[in-house]
Symmetry: C2
Subunit: 505 residues, 2 copies
């Protein structure tokens, strides 16, 4: 009888797993459609593509929330499952419970409003006229508040939305971390502003896009990108997407600035190498999917900042750059290091920000979107509040809304609660890198030699191979022996920028 019961367990779990795989396959198909739309689709293709994409979204939503899934989850509740199976059930149940509570009509209204919001935001930004976007933003805020209320009427709606992107670290951690970043980075940037040090800016020529692309490929080669499971293309907004068998990278080239594409390529490489490192045999289940946005961003930031902006990396890689751009032959490693780490204390635009001021851009949006969703401010208050906060945290005031609160696309996607994971990811990158440095003998020396294998191995063993098996906090605990903490990030930036700007702190 015991065997029979176990068989029944296996059967129910097998049936559940097949359904989960089906959902993941539909989602991954949707990702391919989205990649194609951003990279290869001819412009005229939009009407059909929108229908194809929303059909796939609707199907995966229906598969996730149908009665069969509810019954299977109930059935598995008291079954004898091993750790991995329990992890799969935990992840699917979490998604099921969120999705099943939201009425289909609301999901459709959100999709509809979002698709109308994008052109409104584009027009508002182009015309520098917030009032063009304001009514849609108001509607989106309202719908998202409603959405959160369906999922859990008893909790802070912003918290509920935040968990869509980072389900386990908790909103308190996010709030404490971003406050701490604000409180410690604002004075650091002030000191940098007061410093007399002028970092090198050796790249003032024109750098043709084709050569930059060759250089981006060299960089991916050097870092160990698996081309058999990936490709590089250009896209208006760089991104990476895919699965462990096919994790693609996109970038873009600015002919006046060869460093932008380089750092962005290394950033996307970090995302892609995480995806490539997910276990093959678990494709289609949470064990073969990445943990959420904090961890994903930690991987891109680790490679971008701790490797790609390091002196050691450029000791190795500068000659390759000079081979592509002979005018860089006279640039020293120190100059390169300075150029990559300059703090743009007067920059208003997040995507152009440096490693320090970046977080102020996040803090501003985080504080404002929290208040918006919580109903503490009105949409019409946003531009003024935005500008005030920039003045307070960065000492600069945007002169237009286009370079102020209209600069980023995310709100027009109906995404609220997404932004803080950018900062959490950077913070986690520093924590993970500190552990890797501790455990890998002379990591800096290995990077200087172009040997990235030990770092790949460490990341694969401690992060990539686990997929979503552990919750975010357990994963961090397993990898670093500690809970999530901003200590390492703050120590790292303090030391790095005090040295660069000759600060006496």
């Amino acid at each position: 009888m015991a065997t029979e019961a176990a068989d029944a367990d296996v059967d129910a779990y097998e049936q559940f797993l097949q359904k989960v795989q089906r959902i993941h396959n539909v989602k991954h198909a949707g990702m391919i459609l989205s990649w194609d739309q951003q990279v290869t689709m001819p412009e005229g293709g939009t009407p059909a593509r929108s229908q194809q994409s929303s059909t796939l979204s609707a199907i995966s939503h229906e598969l996730l929330t149908d009665d069969e899934m509810g019954d299977l989850l109930d059935e598995l509740e008291d079954r004898d499952l091993d750790d991995e199976q329990q992890a799969v059930v935990r992840e699917v149940r979490r998604e099921y419970e969120r999705a099943a509570r939201v009425p289909n009509e609301l999901v459709e209204e959100l999709t509809q409003t979002t698709s109308e919001a994008l052109p409104k935001w584009e027009q508002a930004k182009e015309e520098d006229d917030f009032s063009v976007f304001a009514p849609t933003l108001e509607k989106l805020v309202e719908l998202r508040r409603e959405y959160a209320e369906h999922i859990d009427p008893d909790r802070d709606p912003y918290e509920v939305l935040f968990e869509e992107y980072e389900p386990y670290l908790g909103i308190d951690t996010a709030e404490e971390t971003l406050e701490r970043l604000r409180d410690e980075l604002v004075p650091l940037v002030d000191d940098i502003r007061d410093s007399d040090v002028e970092l090198a800016t050796p790249f003032d020529g024109t750098y043709d896009a084709e050569t930059q692309e060759d250089l981006a490929r060299d960089t991916l080669d050097a870092l160990g990108y698996d081309w058999d499971r990936g490709r590089l293309d250009t896209a208006a907004h760089p991104f990476s997407s895919g699965n462990q068998f096919d994790a693609r990278v996109t970038t873009r080239f600015d002919e006046s600035d060869p460093l932008g594409a380089l750092t962005s390529t290394v950033h996307e490489f970090g995302h892609a190498t995480y995806t490539q490192g997910l276990p093959d045999e678990e494709y289609g289940t949470p064990l073969g999917e990445s943990r959420d946005l904090t961890v994903h961003e930690s991987q891109s930031r680790l490679w971008e900042n701790h490797v790609g902006r390091s002196r050691a990396f450029w000791e190795r890689f500068l000659p390759e750059l000079a081979e592509r751009f002979p005018e860089a032959e006279d640039v020293s490693v120190d100059e390169m290091y300075e150029a990559l780490n300059r703090v743009f204390e007067d920059n208003l635009i997040r995507v152009e920000a440096d490693e320090l001021t970046y977080h102020m851009h996040i803090v501003v949006r985080f504080e404002i979107e929290k208040q918006l969703i919580r109903g503490e401010i009105e949409v019409e208050d946003v531009p003024e509040l935005w500008n005030d906060k920039y003045e307070e945290y960065l000492g600069i005031r945007p002169e237009t809304d286009a370079e102020g609160c209209l600069q980023d696309i995310h709100w027009s996607h109906g995404n609220f609660g997404y932004f803080p994971t950018y900062s959490l990811g950077s913070v986690l990158a520093a924590q993970l890198y500190a552990s890797a440095e501790e455990e890998i003998d002379d990591l800096e020396g290995k990077i200087r030699e172009g040997d990235f294998e030990p770092l790949h191995e460490w990341l694969t063993e401690n992060v990539h191979q686990h997929g979503a098996r552990y919750t975010t906090d357990d994963l961090i605990q397993e990898a670093t022996g500690e809970s999530f903490t901003a200590d390492y990030f703050l120590d790292y930036v303090e030391a790095k920028f005090a040295d660069l700007y000759d600060l006496d702190r």
Copy 2:
């Protein structure tokens, strides 16, 4: 009460239509996945892609054959529908009835066997060893016979399979047409073999792929390809795919032969311009989908043979070719025309065949696959029979199976009944072109001037805009005033090749 009944009709039809659109959207998403796999996907992506593709196939099959679809079709049976609605119901019902009769397990077994067959066929072809492929071919023949039997146990199984690709023209038409082609083309090719005329072969240099690609783009431009709804890429096996908003073309380049890529590009253009000409507003229903393979192939063959291999076209286009390849400056229009229309009477390979011998390749496979499916011969008889037929119809005997019965991929895909539509399409191309010539004032002169608009308009009006509204025979009747006939094709080739080879017939 009448209004209420009409409303109920509308509701049932609306519900049905939404389901049909959903199925089409899933299928079109699957096409994107397949395009990506053949054009952009990194090699390592296969394991995940196979799962994604078969998930989408399974979902569209389930949506097509579920109880809801059966009930809706029943409900619409006695409703008061207009002509267009009736056409949609007719097409969906036909697909539903075929699909619903085949058990899921058989569909899965076919998918499974097909995916195993491809590497077996590749190996057999590479090692020139039919016995490597034979057991899988046997299995596929058996499964397809079973498949046909489920659909209709009372009819010839080959007929049932043929209707998968050409549902309306009827197997008798196919048999009569192919017999007639065989009986009339064999003596014509014999006469050509006996002729002393040697056609010009002016292209014996090396033609770099990049310039050939530029030329392919020039060609598509000249013909009126809508780049806003399409793109050109290279693929191992040229194909076109997509929908009216996004109809893509692929081609491939052989540096020793600039004409191959040219004719193949014009061929795929013919397919794509049909797809681009389908009505936008009917996307996602049979009214916005192409009629089946005969009609599709008629469009590619019309552009490839009647336009792309014509003297008139090259009077216009030769200077553009000479601009890309200066060594072609000395080639005359007559030489170009001869080079494009040479009959390769000793060629064994279908995809390298000319406009005449091409059909002998089709006839051989048609005759053999009919006997196979009908159980009149065994798989082991195929190689010998294949070679005998080549000797009989083309006067040449393959020395290996690799260039004999193993040359084409289609059987390894489990496709039987597909091949005859290639010939039917060529035949229909001539019939349609004759009508267009009759109705368009000085069509040849217009082509000579590079003015393809009248031909596009004629094809759009008579073929493209109708989607699958008419059955194949009705469409041909509407467009040409006649039933399907091989008369025009035979007149055309008789006149063309008698002239080229100076035959006294």
